[in-house]
C-alpha cells in the first residue's frame, strides 16, 4: 500500500476530484497549505510597499492506495492539475505499512477503499 501526497493549485481541486472519480478513486483527504517552490512567489503591493509573497496557497491531497491504483492515480492527478506553468505542484509517494478502518476494525487492503 502507498500513501500519496499531492500538492496542487487550489483552483485545480475540482478538476482533480473529477479525474479521480473517473478512475474510481473516491477516497481522499484534503488540507490547505502554503507552498514555496520553483514558482518563487510574486511581488505585490500593500499600502505602497512591495510585499514578496513566497508562500503561495496550495491544496494538499492525501490518498491511501493499494499498489495497483498508484499509477492511475498519479496519471489522473497529473493530467487534471497540469497547466504547464511553474507552480503546478508535486506528488510524493511513501510506503504505507498499515491501514485500519476505525468503524469496523478492518485492516489493510480491505480498509483502504
Amino acid at each position: 500500500m502507498k500513501l500519496l501526497i499531492a500538492y496542487i493549485q487550489p483552483e485545480k481541486l475540482n478538476a482533480v476530484k473529477q479525474a479521480l472519480y473517473e478512475k474510481s478513486i473516491f477516497k481522499m483527504s484534503v488540507t490547505t497549505a502554503l507552498g514555496c517552490g520553483q514558482q518563487k512567489g510574486f511581488h505585490e503591493h500593500y499600502r505602497g510597499t512591495e510585499i514578496e509573497v513566497n508562500l503561495l496557497k496550495k491544496t494538499r491531497i492525501e490518498i491511501a492506495l493499494n499498489d495497483e491504483f498508484v499509477q492511475p492515480t498519479v496519471d489522473a492527478i497529473c493530467s487534471a492539475a497540469r497547466t504547464g506553468s511553474i507552480g503546478d505542484g508535486k506528488i510524493f509517494i511513501i510506503t504505507l505499512d498499515e491501514c485500519i478502518r476505525i468503524r469496523t476494525g478492518e485492516t489493510n487492503g480491505d480498509a483502504i477503499g
Binding site: 487550489p10 483552483e11 481541486l13 475540482n14 505585490e44 500593500y46 491544496t59
Partner: protein, 477 residues
C-alpha cells in the same frame, strides 16, 4: 461622446414626445395624507397671526424638517456599508477585497457624479437639459458642483426659500440615494466582472441613467403628470438598479462552476455574520430612505412610513424563512435575509399609502416572491446572481410598484394600470441603456476577468491582496 448623446436621447424620448414644461420645484409627496404643515397653514388662515411670529415659528419648523432630511441622508449612507457587507458575506472569501473596493468606490464616484451632473439632471426637469440641438447643456447640468460660495447664492440655497429643507440638504439626501442604484448591480455581478468596466458602468449609471429616468417622476416629468406613484423608489431606485443587475449579469454569464452540465450548483457565501449585519444596516438605513422621502419631519407621515416599513420587512423576513423551511426542510438564513430586503423594497413604493395590515400583506407576498424568484432565476433563467439582487430589487420592486394599485389609499384599477405603465416605462430604457453600455464595454476593454484570475479570486487578480491574510481558507470548495 456621440454615442453618449445618442444614449441620452434614447432616455429622453417620452419627454421630447410630450413637450411638457416641468417646473423646477422640489417634489411633494405629501399629497394624500394631510400633514402637519398643511395644518399649520390652515391654522394660519383661520385667525390672523402676526406675520413676524408666523415667520419665526416657520423658521423653527424649517430647522426640524431640514435636520430630518440630513439625518435621513446619514441613515441612507449606512446602506452602503450594508450593501458591502451583504455582498461580500454572500460570496466567496477570494473576492472580498474586490467587492469592498467596488462598494467603497460607488459611494465616492456616486457622490461626485451626482454633484457634477446627476442632481441637476434629475430635478430641474429634463427639458432644460437637452436643448434645441439635442445636446447636453453643460451649464445647466453641472449646477451643483459649481455653485458659488458667495453670500447671495448661499442665501438662496441655504434658506427656506428653496423648500422645507435647503438645496444642500436636498442634494445630500438625493446623492446618498443615487449611489444605491449602482450598488444593486454590484452584487449581481460579483466574482467575475472587471473592476475598471464596473466603475465606468457605475459612473454613467449614476450620472446619467438614474437621474434622467428619475426626473420622469420625481423631477415632475411625464410619468408624474400621468399619476404614476412611487413614494421612495421601488421602481425609480430598485427596479432600475435591478434591471441593470439583470442585464449586466446576463452579459457576463455565470461564474465558473455555477452550472455543471446545465445544473445549478450552490456556491456558498463565506461569512454569514457579515451578511446578517449588512441586512440589519440596510434595514436601519431604509428607515431613513423611506422616512426621509416624506421630505419633511411631518409627524403623521413619518410615523406612518416608519411603521409600514418596519412591518413589511418583518413580514417579508418571516415569510421567506418559513417558505424555505417548508420547501427545503431547513430554514435558510440567507433567504430570510433576502426576505427582509424583499419586504423593504416592496413597501417602498407605497409606504405612505398603506394601513398596517396592508404593509404586512405586501411583506408576506414579497417574502414568497423572493424565494421563488431566487430559485427561478438560478434554475430556469440560468442567470447567476450570487446575492439575489435581481430577485430582491427588481422582482420585489415591480411587486411593490403594482401593490400601490392594489392596496392602500390609492388602490384602484386605473391606478394599477398607471403603475404597470410606470414599470414598463422604466424597464425599456434602462434595459436598452445597460445593454448599450455593457456591450460597448465588452467590445472595448472587456467585461469579464480572465478565467485563471476568476479562479484564483479577484482579490489577488485585481488588487494583489487578500481579505483575510493569515487565515487558512479553501478558496475553491
Amino acid at each position: 461622446m456621440l454615442l453618449l448623446t445618442a444614449l441620452v436621447a434614447v432616455l429622453a424620448w417620452p419627454t421630447l414626445a410630450q413637450n411638457d414644461t416641468n417646473t423646477a420645484d422640489p417634489p411633494d409627496t405629501a399629497e394624500v395624507v394631510e400633514g402637519e404643515a398643511a395644518e399649520l397653514a390652515e391654522a394660519a388662515e383661520d385667525v390672523v397671526i402676526d406675520p413676524a411670529v408666523e415667520d419665526m415659528v416657520l423658521d423653527v419648523k424649517f430647522m426640524i424638517d431640514n435636520l430630518w432630511i440630513l439625518l435621513a441622508g446619514c441613515m441612507v449612507f449606512l446602506m452602503h456599508p450594508g450593501f458591502a457587507c451583504v455582498e461580500s458575506g454572500l460570496t466567496r472569501s477570494k473576492n472580498t477585497v474586490n467587492i469592498l473596493f467596488k462598494n467603497t468606490m460607488i459611494v465616492c464616484i456616486g457622490l461626485m457624479t451626482y454633484a457634477i451632473c446627476g442632481f441637476n439632471l434629475m430635478y430641474p426637469g429634463f427639458d432644460e437639459v437637452v436643448g434645441i440641438a439635442g445636446v447636453l447643456d453643460i451649464g445647466a447640468v453641472s449646477g451643483f458642483i459649481t455653485v458659488a460660495g458667495d453670500q447671495a447664492s448661499q442665501d438662496a440655497n441655504l434658506t427656506k426659500a428653496y423648500a422645507d429643507y435647503t438645496w444642500y440638504a436636498d442634494f445630500f439626501f438625493q446623492a446618498m440615494f443615487a449611489a444605491t442604484a449602482a450598488t444593486i448591480v454590484s452584487g449581481a455581478v460579483a466574482g467575475r466582472i472587471k473592476l475598471s468596466s464596473f466603475l465606468i458602468f457605475s459612473a454613467v449609471f449614476v450620472g446619467l441613467c438614474y437621474p434622467i429616468l428619475g426626473s420622469w417622476k420625481w423631477g415632475e416629468g411625464w410619468l408624474h403628470t400621468r399619476g404614476f406613484y412611487d413614494f421612495a423608489g421601488s421602481t425609480l431606485v430598485h427596479s432600475v438598479g435591478g434591471w441593470g443587475a439583470l442585464v449586466i449579469a446576463f452579459l457576463l454569464g455565470p461564474r465558473i462552476g455555477k452550472y455543471v452540465n446545465g445544473k445549478a450548483k450552490a456556491i456558498p457565501g463565506h461569512s454569514m455574520p457579515l451578511a446578517a449585519v449588512g441586512v440589519f444596516l440596510l434595514w436601519f438605513g431604509w428607515f431613513g430612505f423611506n422616512g426621509g422621502s416624506v421630505l419633511s419631519a411631518d409627524a403623521a407621515l413619518v410615523s406612518l412610513v416608519m411603521v409600514t416599513t418596519a412591518m413589511a420587512a418583518a413580514a417579508g423576513g418571516f415569510t421567506a424563512a418559513m417558505v424555505s423551511w417548508v420547501m427545503d426542510k431547513k430554514p435558510d438564513l440567507s433567504m430570510a435575509l433576502n426576505g427582509i430586503l424583499g419586504g423593504l423594497v416592496g413597501i417602498t413604493a407605497g409606504a405612505d399609502q398603506m394601513a398596517v395590515w396592508e404593509a404586512v400583506v405586501i411583506g408576506v407576498v414579497a417574502g414568497v416572491i423572493v424565494y421563488f424568484a431566487v430559485i427561478g432565476i438560478d434554475r430556469f433563467l440560468k442567470i447567476d446572481d450570487p446575492v439575489g439582487a435581481i430577485s430582491v430589487h427588481l422582482v420585489c420592486g415591480i411587486w411593490g410598484t403594482l401593490a400601490v394599485g392594489i392596496f392602500g389609499a390609492m388602490a384602484g384599477v386605473s391606478q394599477f394600470f398607471t403603475q404597470l405603465l410606470g414599470v414598463v416605462a422604466y424597464a425599456i430604457p434602462t434595459v436598452i441603456f445597460c445593454f448599450a453600455v455593457g456591450y460597448i464595454l465588452k467590445a472595448t476593454i472587456g467585461l469579464r476577468v480572465e478565467e485563471v484570475e476568476e479562479q484564483q479570486g479577484l482579490d489577488i487578480g485585481e488588487h494583489g491582496m487578500e481579505a483575510y491574510s493569515g487565515f487558512q481558507t479553501f478558496s475553491n470548495v
